[in-house]
Subunit: 293 residues, 4 copies
């Protein structure tokens, strides 16, 4: 089976390697020439554009940053749907707004092809070990067709419901992630201004009932160690903006997520966008406080 | 050694039992007559008022809900400091604003007595098993004097720094707790409006990197089971309001905690104040959403 | 010229009267039977459904509450576009999200008809006096065709730009309205808790640099007088939710509007939805405060 | 009558000139040497420190930026209360937290002197013309003693109540100011991203029911003109932080003001602190938006 993969960023590049290791014939493409070159050095065959990827593949995976970009990959002049895609299966793995999934599905169907969404829980290490969790939205039979590919990358595949439900679940998870890191930022800033040290606080916070393995894994980055980049602040901000938009369109007020979004936006405005989300507490502590003399 | 205990709510009552089981001679008092009666039926000796408690005890513990109440227990006309308290040690265990601790300490010292603060992590089960975590603010020598008592209730005692630092750390922890439960509420409401079921969502959220034992322990309450009440929404709201006040007084903007506070305030206004915090998601889902058609 | 009008709520009913007074032949319809009856008693001819309105009219005005409803009026089974509407002009006057306008325009065009949006500034008195301000989005030539009708209801017509721009401007205005009333609510609650009286505060607030005629007009309602209902809290909430959604979809963080939305949502949850927006301060003061004893 | 004036910033310097023009004998001091020099060039007699000001004056005015600074002016080693101040009257005119006023009053009384607070509405032009509005907190008889001085600077003097009430009213007014400018920022950013021009939007916003003279006066600055500096963003941020702190300490949740505070804090973090508040919309529009390509 031939697999095409559009989006060769950190996640996409890792997936292309995993899938080849698992025996698939994979071709890739990214709109960024550097990303293409990087993947080419690992032996990945690079196509000319998204349409070319679709033309030569049975199953086409896309994993890029945001909704406008994904729409363009599908509907742009050299996008997937600009060629003959009858009979093909698209597995869209980005973190998008549910409405984007519900908008793309009929466009794909109109070309005689099928689409499922499958955003995932997990980052690079989980890709490498095939231990992602897949959150699928779309028809059950399309998921069955995708399963042999998804299984090689995941430890669990959950069918959430029709199109949009997979993205909704992914946003619900990332909402909590943004909340967790911003709560930590506010906690540490509060304690800092009250005379506590970062070490003391991180020690005690690991005693909190809601302490998690993730907090433990971020402690060194929060203390200032160089991060093994997983999710950057700009991307998390985009996800939380999608959360707030989806919430508002559905009739859900989001007072807390809106607060998180304001903080993330301020961090990006201050040049922290490319930083790991474990660096967010530093931004609050160093830039947002009011100092009296 | 004789121990006095003011505040016979859920936590105070459990402490009075634990301390007696550990061999201390304990007398108690609460401003609420019912609470006194309830504790009397467990065999606790009840005194006439806070001053009487202080008069007959070497070490006096207080654990009540909020700052105004604690100030009154110390400085009211029948309060601790209305009698001769020279040489006594006060262990204040409520969850207060740091400034309240820094305000009370010199008043106590002026009467020849000593004060440490020791808010705790943990609830009723941890009191019963002596497995609380104590977050101490005050002088090291006063902590040493308190240690034989605190040790019977805790698995760990952390000296955070001078007066105020214990409260600051406790607020920093509860900030995260409020954030966690409100984030969960927003997640579940978002997914609910997008067609996901509570069961599906709680299942997947336990796969999130930031999942915790606490989330697991709350799953049944979130699904609708009767809670084994630990922290009620009204009290958590009071804590988050203290977080926001302490933050603002210290120069820390708290966009996320302010969002959480708005949500908790709305829940209390709707009559959810006495509910367990695991019932917060239900409030958002059932009352705050906007319904069209 | 025959005019059809769908939506016979407060604003629609007033418009139907104004237009008849100005000499137009007007027929109306509302999905709510009571609204139809009420307007019938004023002499308005009532049609069977939206499609029937479109069938018999040259120009069709719609003014209802929210986006889902408007979509249904256009695309539902008895909606405008279910009949032959070639050559007709639709003037959509509701307060909607810009994306809704951009979504409807091509659907209308595909049926050989034209659409402009024209949300308005002003309420019932301005309708009666023909002193609304019209914020038009759509093509200039379609505005010219609508002008003879719009002119009878407005003192000013502003062409904001293509489809969506009129709605965007209206949302931008209502954002400020929501902000103003919630700011006033927070001001008054703050002063109230600090010992100031409502009378004192409203007096001084009219000295503020940002005081406006609108504040002056609301002073009696804020003090408790029965409102001459203009905009209810539920509808303002819907507008602010549209603001937040449109903002997030466009990449604009809205920390303040999100705070306003949280407050309005709490008010609706507490049963204040049908109240005039001048009643919002009462809700905050009476229901959202934390009381210490 | 001899008047002392501590705080020779923009407002204090203008007041020192106004009072001398009105025939008072005035001496001044500021902790900033440049401010002293600047005022000396206008002919103001400069004293050595705050205590020296109090020593030579009957009535002592203070007008500086924030609470810690004012506390220091009164209780510092060279502060007002470090000398003999029996019989003197202090008029504190800064914008402070009510609790600061209630904290200082008994300290002043203990030294045999009197204190009223009189924060004001208005900026430099109103000082020059004696057209401020004075919001007085403190005892009525002390206000009578201050009146001959206050009258020369004000068009209206309102006795709000006991100590703290004047500050509370001033914070309530500035809450609205912060809200107004941030609402405008969010409005303009929303419209901007939807394709509207600044000129169009500012034109229409002046048609809004809540439009004010203040908005009109800020239009040119918002469009990019160099401001005639009145209130800078950093100071407004401090005021809104005082609003949030006072609210939380009083039991008032402030979801909207907290959103405003987040935005102002982000602006200060980005280097906009010294800007006029009319420059806030530019910050949101240029730095906080998320751009998709």
């Amino acid at each position: 089976m031939k697999i095409g993969l559009v989006g060769l960023g950190r996640m996409g590049a890792a997936m292309s390697q995993r899938l080849r290791q698992q025996g698939f014939d994979v071709a890739g493409w990214d709109q960024n020439a550097n990303a293409n070159q990087m993947s080419a050095t690992t032996g990945l065959r690079i196509a000319a554009h998204a349409r070319a990827i679709a033309a030569e593949s049975d199953i086409i995976i896309s994993i890029i940053t945001e909704d406008h970009g994904v729409r363009h990959i599908f509907t742009g002049s050299q996008g997937f749907l600009s060629g003959d895609v009858a009979g093909k299966l698209f597995i869209e793995m980005s973190t998008l707004q549910p409405m984007t999934g519900r908008e793309l599905a009929p466009l794909v169907a109109a070309k005689g092809a099928r689409l499922i969404e499958s955003p995932v829980l997990g980052t690079i290490p989980q890709v490498r070990d095939g231990r992602l969790v897949s959150l699928v939205g779309g028809a059950a039979e399309d998921l069955e067709r995708a399963r042999p590919v998804l299984e090689k990358m995941t430890r669990r595949i959950v069918h959430m419901g029709p199109h949009g439900c997979g993205y909704a679940m992914k946003l619900a998870v990332n909402l909590g992630l943004g909340s967790y890191i911003q709560a930590l930022s506010e906690s540490l800033a509060l304690g800092f201004k009250q005379g506590l040290s970062l070490e003391q606080m991180l020690d005690v916070l690991q005693e909190a009932p809601y302490a998690s393995g993730w907090l433990k894994s971020k402690v060194d980055v929060i203390k200032g160690a160089k991060p093994d980049m997983t999710l950057d602040i700009r991307t998390l901000r985009k996800d939380i903006m999608s959360v707030v938009a989806t919430g508002a369109l559905s009739g859900v007020p989001m007072p807390q997520s809106s607060g998180t979004l304001a903080a993330l936006s301020a961090a990006v405005a201050n040049g922290y966008g490319a930083g790991d989300l474990g660096e967010l507490p530093k931004f609050l502590r160093e830039s947002m406080l009011q100092n009296f003399e």
